[in-house]
């Protein structure tokens, strides 16, 4: 017995040893190692994000520009399907068979009992056809989701579009999660944070399949989704729609602003597209189509294209000349064609005459007087100092320095300064350098050619300053935000550095441009509206087949009306259309008449514009 008696202790020891191992292991798992707690949370807790309705966008008169609409996602629960005919179903849902197979396999891999997305964001018009057939396929069903709709199909460039966030959006703002939608351009982008509202979160406990079984901590950490705010824009939907009709088959831009508030009434870039093309599942297909279009309809010419302002720039030369007192309103200058080419016209005996007839040599001389004031002995230093005085005036009109418009990616024009010519002209790599240039080098700017470039928005702002005789508000799109003020910056008057009395002779000239014989824009005349305007025509060149070719001139017109109580200021820029008075001027006048009177008196003028197709590019030389 002695031999085996010890064995009872060995057995007892073995029992205790196993228990000890268990206790150590349990202590490690339950107290020391947090891995299992995290895994448990991962397994048993989940959250769903609740999406608020996005804010509605109205025009200045309360018409809906952007609303929300129910679109449809098609979901599938794999184990409820009964071997559907994949070819027929893919055809019904209008997706490719490869896409269908891919999504179905993904769904099966994810879970056979839980729903997965098969097709997404089907517009209501397409879904109405699908709904009639879908009931024949058990396991497939629709899930509603809200997306944008543009009831008027206008203003695509103003309103912008929405798309799924990309990685850079998520990086910039942790609010976004993969799959969320974000405003990518236009108003949707610039007022994204106002329109989007705030997502809500609901935490819950889930069972093994992933279905909700209980609220987590009785909803203590849940948040309610906050609806996006509605906003009203300064856009006039009717005017916008009318302008887009006029701009059909033309390339260019129109910007109209209410002078006394800086509110943008219309912004058109042509060619354009129906904003509804870029919603839901149509987005991908249509976007690439628009992107490949040689007329670049996605490009917003109104805010991003920099053009030579042409003769419209002469207004500013006249104002600066008067303010600098290098001329008076009655300065008479001969039309010396050896200085600059000009058309045949009587001698300009005043500033007003010169504006009316758009005399090139006149403004060559005026600008030379501004820039070469003779204050310094060195001709070059004189020009350098004079140019900065000149540029400073132009900057005070909001040109070349940014107009703080509430819009994503607005370009700023170019007002050349001394620094520009010293360092960047004619090329950045080989500039002229300091005191190596004078007015004779840069004279083209006096008639709005050469280095000076403005965007259509800046050009419209020139019209605004003319209308107000010396001041403006930053042009903006926002009129009202639900439960909030519009930004302070748009309530602050900006002052141009030209005194009001110096505007009168120039404005007088603008009135005569439209109303007197010998004026360059007689086509813009509308009885009783007292439209004041200025034409512009710019040469432009493009390289084809390695040769620099001159194309047909750009046609430009800026205007405001009525003369004494301006309600609208406008810039019209039509690419490669010809003389400013021929196309841009009548378009501007139609817009003004439509806005002020609500109807067009001269239907032949209107019809001429509607019928015109100015798209083909004509090579002149």
């Amino acid at each position: 017995m002695k031999n085996t008696d010890n064995r009872k202790y060995i057995i007892a020891l073995f029992f205790v040893l196993v228990s000890l191992i268990f206790i150590v292991r349990l202590f490690y798992m339950q107290v020391v190692d947090d891995k299992w707690k995290e895994r448990a949370a991962q397994i048993s807790e989940n959250k769903i994000t609740t999406y608020p309705a996005r804010g509605i966008v109205y025009d200045r008169n309360g018409k809906k520009l952007i609303a929300n609409e129910v679109y449809y996602d098609i979901h599938v629960i794999p184990n409820q399907t009964d071997n559907p005919d994949s070819v027929a179903l893919a055809k019904l849902l209008d997706i490719s068979l490869e896409e269908y197979t891919k999504q179905m396999n993904k769904a099966r891999d994810y879970s056979k009992r839980k729903p997965s997305e098969l097709a997404r964001q089907i517009p209501p018009d397409e879904f109405s056809g699908i709904a009639l057939e879908l009931y024949k396929y058990p396991g497939f069903y629709e899930v509603e989701r809200t997306l944008r709709i543009y009831p008027k199909s206008i203003g695509s460039h103003v309103l912008g579009y929405m798309a799924e966030v990309d990685s850079s959006d998520i990086k910039k703002d942790a609010y976004y999660k993969s799959g969320d939608l974000i405003g990518k351009s236009g108003i949707e982008r610039s007022y994204e944070e106002v329109l989007r509202g705030k997502k809500g979160v609901k935490y819950y406990l889930q069972d093994a399949i992933g279905l909700e079984t209980a609220r987590y901590e009785e909803g203590k950490y849940d948040t309610v989704a906050v609806q996006g705010k509605d906003i009203s824009l300064t856009i006039d939907a009717d005017l916008q729609e009318y302008g887009e009709r006029l701009m059909q088959n033309k390339r260019g831009a129109i910007v109209a602003i209410e002078p006394k508030s800086g509110e943008i009434l219309t912004m058109i870039s042509s060619p354009s597209y129906d904003p509804n093309m870029l919603v839901g599942r149509r987005l991908g297909k249509n976007y690439s189509k628009l992107e490949e279009d040689t007329l670049v309809p996605l490009y917003n010419r109104a805010t991003n294209a920099r053009y030579n302002p042409g003769s419209t720039f002469k207004l500013l030369m006249a104002l600066i000349g008067l303010q600098e007192e290098v001329i008076t309103e009655n300065t008479s200058l001969p039309c010396r064609k050896e200085l600059l080419g000009c058309h045949n016209h009587p001698t300009a005996r005043s500033v007003s005459d010169a504006v009316k007839m758009s005399c090139n040599p006149y403004f060559y001389v005026v600008t030379r007087k501004i820039i070469q004031q003779g204050k310094y002995k060195s001709h070059f230093k004189d020009a350098a100092v004079g140019l900065d005085i000149w540029a400073d005036y132009l900057h005070s009109f909001g040109l070349g320095v940014g107009l703080h418009t509430d819009f994503p990616s607005v370009s700023t024009g170019v007002i050349p300064t001394t620094e520009f010519y010293n360092k960047e002209f004619p090329t950045k790599t080989n500039p002229y350098g300091e005191y190596a240039w004078a007015f004779s080098t840069i004279y083209s700017n006096s008639i709005g050619q050469g280095e000076v470039e403005l965007t259509p928005v800046e050009l419209a702002n020139v019209a605004v300053v003319m209308a107000n005789r010396g001041w403006y508000y930053y042009p903006h799109f926002i009129k009202e935000i639900q439960d909030a003020e519009i930004p302070e910056i748009y309530k602050k008057k900006q002052q141009a550095k030209v005194s009001p009395e110096n505007f009168e002779p120039v404005v007088e000239g603008m009135w005569r441009v439209v109303h007197e014989s010998g004026g360059t824009a007689r086509r813009a005349k509308v009885d009783s509206l007292d439209i004041c305007g200025k034409t512009g025509t710019t040469e432009n060149f493009k390289t084809y087949d390695g040769r620099r070719r001159q194309l047909k001139d750009h046609s430009i017109f800026i205007a405001f009306a009525p003369k004494d109580d301006p309600k609208i200021a406008i810039s019209v820029y039509i690419e490669n259309a010809g003389f400013g008075g021929t196309w841009a001027a009548p378009i501007a006048s139609l817009m003004i008449e439509k806005y002020i009177n609500g109807e067009i008196s001269d239907s032949r003028k209107e019809q001429r514009i509607l019928d015109a197709n100015l798209l083909p590019i004509e090579i002149v030389k």
Partner: protein, 456 residues
């Protein structure tokens, strides 16, 4: 002499009864929490698992009381009868309709009973009856192996083997691998009784070699110095040979010359056996085990990690236990191991420990492990105070079976043992196991209460 009725109660081990009642009570409360169904909130609702468990406990205690009023000698004499009846049931159950792929249930209405649980009881009784009648051949003639010893071993043990192998094989035919493994617990009894002297030691070494073989079998190594690539099995064999060489040198230099030959023989013999064993394990693993069994073993060995696939159960079970923390989530507050979430499978039977640990935390786990340890030690101490050989052997049988269940069930839940579906004794939901373990304990109590009067 005291009166008979007095005698029954006088020497009853109340500690064991209290532990028993504690475990079944905690078990019911835990099943209630694990399977709580708002539509059946009643404690005695027979549609619920805890309700059924209460009924089974009631039946068990009733039968236990009857046992207490029986004569101990009657139980001893009935051992083979009971064994015979249960073996008949184990054969009969093979002719029932399979439930979940196994023919292991007799169903009566919504109640079912597994004869395999009673098979353990029967084996305990029959083994005790058999072993208590034979005297052990404890003198060793010579060290070393020979045909004579093997023959002798067979003659003394064939009956033991038959008693254990019959229910084990019948259970395996159901198939119920979990219960089959429990039958190996009787090795503990044989060890205690001196029949399996070095068997346990050999078994331990064999398990270690087997585990290492399985872990390294698929791997390949690059020898550090020679830069030779070799398979895991080859490395294993090389290591064994290396160990043999070391032993050879040890013997060569540290053992007296005249004592060396038997040691050499033993060494070479063990080496051959070990090498054959390594090959056998690898061959057996790839030939006999089914895919899901291989996967379970691989999961425990850490060879594969697959939290949502084959490792799903064990992963969820560990997450439930681990998330309990120090103090637990509170009664009926489990978020993983409960009926409405269903993250942990079989949370009222095989994985009952998860609900307990998640809700009671480390404090609770510790308490439960200590409770079982205490129960086991208590049974061992009861065994050792017997003068009756039958009772002592029976007590060791009970301890061995409970220990196996406890070790595998808890070990499985915390990822230290492969997933083998056997219940936590008296704690898991399951009528048959409650009945079987209750009968084991009550028989033990009855036999123990007669320790002062029985001289055998």
């Amino acid at each position: 002499m005291r009166g008979k009725s007095e005698k029954i109660w006088a020497d009853i081990d109340w500690t064991l009864i209290i532990i028993y009642l504690l475990i079944v009570t905690l078990g019911v409360s835990n099943i209630y929490s694990a399977t709580y169904n708002p539509e059946h909130p009643g404690l005695f609702d027979l549609k619920t698992e805890h309700g059924k468990q209460i009924i089974w406990i009631g039946i068990s205690i009733f039968l236990g009381l009857i046992i207490l009023f029986l004569e101990g000698s009657f139980i001893r004499k009935s051992s083979y009868w009971i064994y015979g009846i249960v073996m008949f049931l184990l054969v009969a159950v093979l002719f029932t309709d399979p439930i979940n792929g196994a023919r292991s249930w007799f169903s009566i209405g919504s109640f079912g009973i597994q004869p395999s649980e009673l098979g353990k009881l029967a084996a305990c009784l029959a083994l005790s009856a058999h072993l208590s009648t034979i005297t052990v051949l404890r003198t060793r003639s010579k060290s070393g192996f020979g045909m004579f010893q093997l023959k002798n071993l067979f003659h003394t043990h064939w009956k033991t083997m038959a008693i254990l192998a019959t229910p084990a094989v019948l259970v395996l035919l159901q198939p119920d691998a979990g219960t089959f493994i429990v039958f190996t617990s009787f090795i503990l009894v044989l060890y205690r009784e001196g029949f399996a002297g070095n068997t346990l030691l050999f078994l331990l070494i064999a398990v270690i070699i087997a585990v290492i073989t399985l872990v390294v079998a698929d791997n390949s190594f690059i020898l550090p110095v020679l830069k030779i690539k070799m398979g895991g099995k080859f490395g294993m064999l090389l290591a064994l040979l290396g160990m043999g060489l070391i032993f050879f040198l040890l013997i060569r230099y540290f053992v007296l010359k005249r004592n060396r030959p038997p040691l050499y023989r033993a060494m070479i013999g063990s080496l051959i056996v070990a090498i054959l064993f390594v090959n056998f394990i690898e061959w057996g693993y790839s030939t006999f085990l089914k895919e899901h069994q291989k996967e379970r073993i691989d999961l425990v060995l850490g060879k594969i990690e697959d939290p949502d696939g084959k490792g799903y159960n064990i992963n969820r079970a560990k997450a439930a236990i681990g998330s309990g923390g120090f103090a637990g989530k509170g009664y009926r507050q489990a978020t993983l191991a409960n009926a409405s979430q269903k993250h942990v499978p079989m949370q009222s039977t095989d994985f009952i420990f998860c609900t307990w640990s998640e809700e009671r935390g480390f404090i609770g786990s510790l308490a439960l492990v200590l409770l079982y340890t205490f129960l086991l030690i208590k049974i061992l101490s009861i065994a050792e105070r017997q003068r009756s050989k039958f009772t002592r052997i029976f007590a060791y049988c009970v301890a061995g079976i409970i220990f196996y269940h406890f070790m595998i069930n808890v070990g499985m839940a915390i990822g230290l043992a492969p997933v083998i579906g056997i219940p936590l004794p008296l704690f898991s939901y399951g009528g048959s196991q409650v009945l079987a373990f209750s009968l084991l304990i009550f028989i033990l109590i009855k036999l123990d209460s007669e320790r002062k009067i029985v001289l055998q």
